[in-house]
């Protein structure tokens, strides 16, 4: 084997969403030759699904806003579990990252005096989200994409080729991070989806920006790409994951028809005046305001309604509580038998705004319901329910440099990185996270690569062979001769080589995994169910090793899914184990058997590490599993940041000994 195409780059970015592209732009502008690898076509990343906006305290609409207020909101939203330094950097740098987009051609909606307009969103004290209608993510991805193209045009002028310094390898998948014998990053092993051929990009710095894990759940707003690739790659390379128990269920996903169940209904619907009602017509959110938020939210419908017009003298309606609170409330209403006909609740704008305004402010929601559900949202309420949306957990990184812990040369940014959002992410903080930490990752990756110029780490051939063999397993499931791969025309030979046991259908395993995670490690968690989930995951892990595929390597989705299963099973185990361990309810982690937030858990992070430190996946033992947990106490919050909060508020979150300090 090992005769694969090898190329030398300085920085390799895995993933071409907001964080990946922003990292690539920064790395290239710092002089690093940069390659971007993405599973889809360039410009199709999951970032396009983001609707509401980019949170940045520019203060264009309400001049009272500044980074300190944004920091406070972010910490509150994450129930103080956030890596405070990340939250600080994020709040400080987000405005610059947004303004920079304008110089690259982005066109945000405007205020009356020509500045970037900002809108209200759950958990944000002031109107803060820079937006373009309800397609902000598309604008972001397109702007970054076009900036990449403009850098390539510069390179073409200078060097004669578009791709000499910055290249996008689209429709390629990375299966392993390669390291040298000292444990430093040496590059990535990848395959091209079209041809099925393997290739290696050798680079001393790799930025992981692969997004989330939602495809492990049945009802999700995430696309097929969200198979936790980056989480698994980092884990297998030896980098720990943090906070994996915190999975955000967006409160409003479509619930009907079944084929679109989970597709997102943007939070802007509520930010712009939409209200939630149960089957009895009641605005039930008023019954679900938790104590920590009591002073911040309206107590009557009248006050909530006045807030849209006069936010300075009224408190916001509880529909705009952080997402975890709203999702739990909806879940509770449905369970209590006050749900809508298809098992959700009603989200209504039709009685709140004129039809013409709805069509102008929420064009893609109007379109989405009209086209997919045959519902006219200007005339009738939508039916919505919680949907798996975002994972707060991810690669444990250094706050300032985005460097993954324990693996020199590995960086992570965006959803795949953990810590920034604590136990629950505020809407709009995701896009700004991508930009702020994407840039930082690209910057430090480029510096790291430059520091190793002349002495670049090299991966040995054995790693390549192992990676190739692993990737080819599905073609000869349980049979011998794993590295003889069927290229087009050789498929039948491979089928004959299989052993007696029939191979597993990867689609079937995937469906069982999704059902398991949805039912047993979903929005409300119980100890016994999670233990059951771990057993089921172990069973699926064994079966997944026998997942077999038909046909040849050329653009074969069955094969691609079989390979993605490894990643989904790994991250699912992380989620289940960490969720079982954390015996409290906080943000995106709700335990029915431990319903209260426990301040003793506040400074505790759960790190997931591979049980087999060599990164091999031989361990398929159901009990031991592939993941082990490490408890870690987080460094105390810097005093000047703590001083931004009132004492009375801190009491609600911090453990007593933390308060003393």
């Amino acid at each position: 084997m090992s005769v694969v195409d090898r190329q030398e780059w300085d920085v390799v970015v895995v993933g071409a969403g907001g964080a990946g592209l922003r990292a690539a732009i920064e790395a290239r502008e710092r002089g690093a030759r940069t390659a971007v690898i993405c599973k889809s076509l360039f410009g199709k990343a999951h970032t396009v699904m983001a609707e509401g906006g980019i949170a940045a305290a520019m203060g264009n609409v309400n001049s009272g806003d500044n980074w300190q207020v944004h920091f406070r909101d972010t910490m509150r939203g994450g129930k103080f579990l956030n890596q405070w330094r990340m939250a600080e950097l994020h709040a400080r740098e987000a405005p610059d990252r947004v303004w920079e987009l304008e110089t690259w051609g982005a066109l945000f909606d405007r205020t009356g005096d020509g500045r970037i307009s900002q809108r209200n969103f759950g958990g944000h004290e002031y109107p803060r989200l820079a937006h373009v209608g309800d397609r902000t993510g598309l604008e972001l991805i397109r702007t970054l994409q076009q900036k990449i193209v403009s850098l390539q045009q510069e390179d073409k002028k200078e060097t004669g080729g578009y791709e000499t310094r910055l290249k996008v390898f689209q429709e390629c998948t990375v299966t392993r991070i390669l390291k040298d014998e000292r444990g430093r990053v040496a590059g990535v092993f990848a395959y091209e989806r079209e041809s099925g051929r393997f290739f290696v990009l050798q680079a001393p710095a790799v930025v992981i920006a692969t997004g989330g894990i939602g495809k492990s759940f049945k009802v999700t707003s995430n696309s097929w790409e969200y198979t936790g690739d980056g989480h698994a790659l980092a884990l297998l390379a030896g980098a720990p994951l943090v906070n994996m128990e915190f999975v955000q269920f967006h409160p409003t996903g479509m619930v009907w028809p079944p084929s679109v169940k989970g597709i997102l209904v943007t939070e802007s619907v509520r930010g712009d005046g939409g209200v939630l009602r149960n089957s009895e017509g009641e605005r039930f959110m008023f019954d679900y305001v938790p104590d920590v938020f009591k002073e911040k939210y309206a107590e009557s419908e009248a006050e909530g309604d006045r807030w849209y017009e006069d936010p300075d003298h009224n408190r916001r309606p509880p529909e705009l509580l952080p997402r975890d609170e709203v999702a739990r409330a909806i879940n509770a209403e449905v369970k209590a038998g006050r749900g809508s006909p298809h098992g959700g609740v009603f989200l209504d704008v039709s009685t709140r705004m004129p039809a013409e305004v709805i069509r102008r402010r929420l064009p893609s929601m109007y379109h989405q319901f009209k086209e997919l559900a045959d519902v006219d949202i200007t005339a009738e309420p939508m039916e919505v329910g919680p949907t798996c949306h975002y994972v707060m957990g991810g690669v444990a990184v250094d706050s300032d440099t985005a460097a993954a812990r324990g693996v020199p040369g590995l960086f992570a940014a965006g959803e795949v990185a953990g810590g920034m959002h604590g136990s629950n992410r505020l809407g709009g903080n995701s896009l700004s996270d991508l930009l702020v930490f994407g840039r930082r990752a690209g910057l430090h990756a480029a510096e790291h690569a430059a520091s190793l110029a002349g002495a670049r780490p090299v991966a040995d051939d054995a790693q390549l062979d192992a990676a190739a063999a692993e990737a080819l397993r599905p073609f000869s499931a349980e049979g011998p001769g794993a590295d003889e791969s069927p290229l087009p025309g050789e498929a039948e030979g491979a089928a004959r080589m299989r052993g007696d046991r029939p191979p597993e259908n990867p689609y079937g395993i995937h469906q069982e995994l999704q059902q398991t995670m949805n039912d047993l490690v979903g929005i409300i968690r119980r100890r016994a169910e999670m233990e059951q989930a771990l057993e089921k995951l172990a069973e699926l892990r064994v079966r997944a090793r026998r997942a077999g595929v038909e046909g040849h390597r050329q653009f074969n989705p069955g094969w691609h899914l079989a390979l993605d299963l490894r990643n989904m099973l790994l991250v699912s185990e992380c989620v289940a184990r960490a969720a079982l361990e954390r015996t409290e309810s906080r943000g995106g982690h709700t335990r029915e058997d431990h319903p209260e937030m426990d301040n003793a858990w506040r400074p505790v992070n759960l790190l997931c590490r591979p049980a087999d430190p060599t990164g091999g996946l031989a361990a398929t033992d159901p009990v031991r599993g592939q993941i082990e947990l490490v408890r870690e106490t987080t460094p105390p919050i810097r005093p000047d940041l703590l001083a931004l909060f009132e004492k009375e508020e801190l009491v609600k979150y911090l453990a007593e000994e933390e308060l003393y300090e």
Partner: protein, 278 residues
């Protein structure tokens, strides 16, 4: 590389052909549409053809184009010596006696040119007559295609001049419409069925002319900053609303101008008398 982004070698010969070319998915059918896609181009072609036949007959007829107080829009303004004198009407002997054929030909060049280069009619006849393309995703029968890059079709870029001319013609037809509020003895303040026909026609002519894409460009579309030109911005928005109906207006005004002419023909040839209201 899937959907490769590398530049192809410059020497690689460009393959020719269309949906049945060697690199495309091997499907023998020129199209797989199951709807009645041919209906629209066929209808368009039939409608345009009918108008061409009618207008050719009427333009060359050189007769029955005036029945006081109405003058056929095909013959207005009438710019040769042989024109019938029309009391206070759109006569203007620009061409003198040497013009030997129907004077309609002189003036019809302009509305004809306007409609021929109109962005809507171009679509209509490229699809209906040229089958270029006959309908969306239906392969066209031509071996080569250069669009509007060469003579003569590059002249389509002159649309705006015909628009300017069409404005003048519309002004004259407006004048004719005013004249239509006389009786057959040129007394003012009268109205007949013909006056209504003329009124409807001129309204549609103006709506069609102002909804023109060139007009939309000239009144405001060419600006970069609408915020600095609020009046032109409002004009642009108004024209934009009309422009959204350009196709409907194109057909409606085509029919109305033919009807107005035919009405005059019926009166002038004595088929019936104009019903007068007052």
């Amino acid at each position: 590389m899937t959907t490769g982004t590398e530049e192809p070698p410059a020497t690689e010969p460009r393959p020719r052909g269309g949906v049945r070319g060697s690199t495309r998915a091997a499907i023998a059918a020129r199209h797989l549409r199951t709807d009645r896609w041919w209906l629209a181009p066929a209808g368009t072609a039939a409608g345009l053809l009918a108008f061409v036949v009618y207008s050719t007959w009427r333009a060359f007829a050189d007769t029955h184009y005036y029945a006081a107080p109405y003058v056929s829009p095909f013959y207005s303004p009438c710019l040769a010596e042989r024109c019938r004198p029309m009391h206070a009407g759109p006569n203007g002997d620009l061409f003198g006696s040497w013009w030997g054929i129907s004077p309609a030909i002189i003036i019809l060049i302009f509305p004809l040119g306007f409609r021929l280069t109109c962005y809507y009619y171009r679509k209509a006849y490229y699809r209906g007559f040229w089958a270029s393309p006959p309908a969306c995703a239906v392969a066209e029968p031509h071996a080569t295609y250069t669009g509007e890059t060469r003579f003569p079709l590059i002249l389509q870029n002159l649309h705006r001049y015909f628009f300017y001319a069409a404005l003048l013609v519309a002004a004259v037809l407006t004048y004719d419409t005013v004249l239509a509020f006389r009786d057959e003895h040129y007394g003012w303040g009268h109205m007949g069925l013909g006056s209504l026909v003329f009124l409807a026609n001129i309204a549609l002519i103006w709506a069609y002319t102002l909804s023109c894409h060139s007009c939309r460009h000239i009144v405001g579309g060419k600006l970069r900053h609408f915020s600095k030109h609020p009046v032109r911005y409002r004009a642009w928005r108004f024209v934009g609303r009309l422009n959204a109906r350009h196709m409907q207006l194109a057909w409606a005004s085509l029919v109305s101008v033919a009807l107005a002419d035919f009405y005059v023909y019926l009166l002038a040839s004595g088929v019936f008398d104009d019903p007068r209201f007052f």
